[in-house]
């Protein structure tokens, strides 16, 4: 018989765990963002690459520096700071000076994320909050869209002004691929973002609820209420393909810590994001409403979670009704 003595660990159940850990999830997000990044560099040139690099390095540096300063365990290995850096720079115009993403990264990582406890604890999407900070601090820089040095109006601002998008030289196919379309680095190519979205769905990083509810709500509302003399379908398609809708719906609104975790809650949150986007686009002061819609819904995520708990196994609607009735009677 085996004579040797071994010591055995008393450990937690279950004894096996899935391979997918946090850094793998974040790596999948980075892979999902790769098509959009590649497209940005292809369309906007070397400056786009420089901006992305600066933003990522700054984000990771602030994450590392803050945790070091506060004597907290180092967390740059989970790659979430890297994702924040990429998302932040993807909402910036190519003409932004190189120091700007550094300021944005500081706000996003230190103020929005780390001050509340780091990954999983922030109640706003750090990249969007960073973008909002830059937007209000340097509005003209953040809304100047150029391609190869030529300043252009985005389809969204043309729509807002009641102009004719087709007359300005944009057709639907171009708006889908993003080729020659002015806008922020990451938002122009709906096609590249969709490819990334499919990757995230296939890897089960996100589920369909938030993006589908978000984009679906925008589609339905713009289809029902067209403006500026467009046909229902044209107006809807132009609205879907312009601005940051795909970037927002697929990559921003699905940010884990700032969105609801319950399944029905995710649907409701998607509807809310979509409705607010349309409201801001129709009645707000700015042409684009995606980022503010998401930030507002971020603030509701907690309440949505509380109000949309799923059906517990073994509990029917009748059971819930009976329980409510009993509670009422007990009160009376």
């Amino acid at each position: 018989m085996i004579q040797k003595e071994y010591t055995f660990d008393a450990s937690y159940q279950p004894q096996v765990r899935t391979k997918t850990d946090t850094s793998r999830v974040m790596l999948d997000v980075i892979i999902g963002l790769a098509p959009a990044m590649i497209f940005a560099v292809w369309q906007f040139g070397f400056k786009a690459l420089a901006l992305i690099a600066v933003s990522v390095v700054a984000s990771v540096f602030f994450e590392w520096g803050y945790r070091k300063l506060m004597k907290k365990p180092n967390s740059i290995g989970d790659l979430s700071a890297c994702v924040t850096g990429i998302l932040l720079v993807l909402c910036m115009p190519v003409d932004a000076p190189l120091w700007m993403p550094v300021v944005g990264a500081f706000f996003a990582i230190v103020i929005v994320k780390q001050l509340y406890g780091g990954i999983g604890k922030n109640f706003l999407n750090p990249a969007l909050a960073g973008r909002a900070f830059l937007f209000f601090s340097w509005t003209s820089t953040m809304t100047k869209w150029t391609i190869d040095g030529v300043t252009m109006a985005t389809p969204l601002s043309i729509l807002k002004a009641g102009g004719d998008v087709t007359a300005s030289g944009f057709d639907l196919m171009q708006m889908f691929t993003g080729i020659g379309l002015p806008g922020s680095l990451g938002e122009v190519s709906a096609a590249a973002l969709l490819i990334g979205g499919i990757w995230l769905l296939a890897r089960k990083v996100i589920n369909w609820r938030i993006p589908v509810a978000f984009i679906g709500t925008v589609a339905v509302l713009t289809f029902i209420f067209p403006r500026g003399g467009y046909s229902n379908v044209d107006w809807m398609l132009y609205n879907l393909l312009s601005g940051g809708l795909f970037l927002g719906a697929i990559f921003m609104a699905t940010d884990y810590s700032s969105s609801p975790v319950t399944l029905n809650g995710q649907l409701l949150y998607g509807f809310g994001c979509g409705a607010l986007t349309v409201l801001i686009r129709y009645f707000g002061g700015f042409p684009e409403g995606v980022s503010f819609a998401i930030l507002i819904m971020n603030l509701c995520a907690w309440a949505i979670d509380k109000g949309t708990r799923g059906r517990q196994f073994g509990v029917t609607k009748e059971d819930l009704k009976a329980a409510k009735k009993a509670a009422k009677e007990a009160k009376a």
Partner: protein, 450 residues
């Protein structure tokens, strides 16, 4: 067509179904713990120096929820003293020196033709033969079936074997299909029903075909192939899959008219009734990266782990953990001196290779725990309130209805100790309830005095 349940996970199955079943020669000394079931532990019936035969009853307790234990070998009793139990603690055990004669005990004759059709006779035999749930729960089977009489309209045999590694049930189906069907028939007759359903996951198609080729209908059995998904083999999931009924929170299977009996239990029922052999042997899977040759062993109860490891070629790596049962719900043993018991479906020896715990588990609020919870709970919030010690909200988030399948922890990218925390929370609730009860009693006494 089986019904589907929401949630669940797909772990690496790690099954090696083609590893042959090795019949283990019993060790020179067997150690028989007096507690191999849920309920009142047995009192030893033998003393040091007694000679016992194979299958002789050596421990018993007259309490209704209990099951006698029998000697798996013939030989001399050399000690009656507390020994390491696989689930920790020292528990009273009978130690028998094996004389390798396997002299059979004649106390228990096979049931007669008539008795085999008589529910009372079968139930009496199940009790006498010490049959308990061999899937791991070890609930006395006779008590379970008797408790369901009049309430239960559906008998389900659990052949899902959804835990990774384990394939003892699969082998039981392959080696003894007819005996298994006869055992199910007996459980069905004892339950007073015309039909039993045998739910088997579709990753065991060979066994499903083999069982179907034996004309299960003549035994009143229907084979139901089920979706391959953990925890398909959990009692509640089996009931859902076969009847589409859902056990109420805090309720029992009998509450929705169902009883679930595991595969090897059905085989043990066959042996007890047709052959007069009590429950002292089972097929268990030995695996994990520390083991030289993973095998399925036909092994008698009371065999020390040390001996079992040797049958499998010893260790090739330093083992860090002993897991009893499957890796998802299995419990931990900490000593090689512990022995296998009736409910030990597998013994896994894990090294650092299987370990995916991290130094700083961090919740990223991804909600993946919610999508996989088969009970429709919100583990992310249950954990948050557990950490706060907020009992009211823990209850509101149904922490007590978690049956600890481990799916949430398994799927957690942040490696949070979810299932473990819920288990701890339940213990805290129990302690709190006991404390409150004691306080109420003390107050009542005080009031009486006045």
């Amino acid at each position: 067509m089986p019904y589907k349940f929401r949630g669940g996970v797909h772990p690496d199955y790690m099954k090696a179904p083609d590893e042959p079943v090795i019949v283990v020669t019993p060790p020179p000394q067997v150690i028989i713990p007096m507690a191999q079931h849920i309920g009142a532990p047995c009192q030893p019936l033998v003393a040091v120096g007694d000679y016992v035969t194979m299958g002789q009853k050596i421990g018993e307790n007259p309490a209704p929820v209990s099951a006698p234990v029998h000697s798996p070998v013939s030989g001399k009793v050399v000690a009656v003293e507390p020994r390491p139990h696989p689930l920790g603690d020292m528990i009273m055990a009978v130690v028998i020196e094996n004389d390798y004669q396997d002299t059979p005990c004649t106390d228990m004759a096979p049931l007669t033709e008539e008795e085999l059709k008589n529910p009372e006779a079968i139930l009496a035999r199940l009790r006498e033969a010490g049959i308990v749930g061999m899937g791991g729960a070890m609930f006395p089977t006779a008590f379970k079936i008797r408790g369901g009489l009049g309430k239960v309209d559906t008998l389900i045999i659990n052949g899902a074997e959804c835990e990774p590694y384990l394939n003892g049930d699969h082998w039981t189906m392959r080696l003894h299909p007819e005996e298994l069907l006869k055992g199910i028939e007996l459980a069905r007759i004892a339950s007073g029903l015309d039909k039993a359903y045998y739910g088997i996951e579709k990753n065991k198609m060979d066994a499903i075909e083999l069982l179907n080729s034996k004309n299960p209908a003549q035994y009143g059995v229907e084979i139901v192939p089920e979706e391959v998904k953990y925890p398909q083999g959990a009692e509640k999931m089996q009931i859902k899959a076969i009847t589409n009924r859902e056990v109420k929170p805090g309720g029992l299977p009998a509450g929705v008219g169902c009883n679930v009996v595991s595969t090897q239990t059905a085989y043990a029922i066959y042996k007890a009734c047709y052959l007069g052999i009590p429950c002292y042997e089972r097929i268990l899977t030995v695996g994990g990266s520390a083991i030289n040759k993973p095998y399925n062993l036909q092994c008698r109860v009371g065999t020390p782990f040390r001996y079992i490891v040797e049958q499998c070629g010893g260790f090739v790596k330093t083992p860090k953990k002993i897991v009893l049962g499957g890796p998802m719900m299995g419990l931990i043993a900490t000593s090689l001196d512990a022995v296998n018991i009736k409910g030990t479906a597998g013994i896994l020896f894990f090294t650092e290779e299987e370990d995916r715990t991290v130094e700083n588990p961090t919740c990223i609020r991804c909600g993946k725990c919610i999508t996989v919870c088969p009970m429709g709970l919100e583990p992310v919030y249950m954990y948050m309130y557990f950490k706060k010690g907020d009992f009211e909200n823990m209850k509101k988030y149904h922490i007590l209805d978690c049956f600890e399948c481990g799916s949430c922890s398994f799927n957690c990218p942040g490696r949070m100790p979810l299932t473990h925390s819920f288990k701890t929370a339940k213990l805290l609730f129990a302690a709190k309830a006991a404390e409150e009860k004691a306080r109420a009693e003390a107050a009542a006494k005080e009031a009486e005095k006045k």
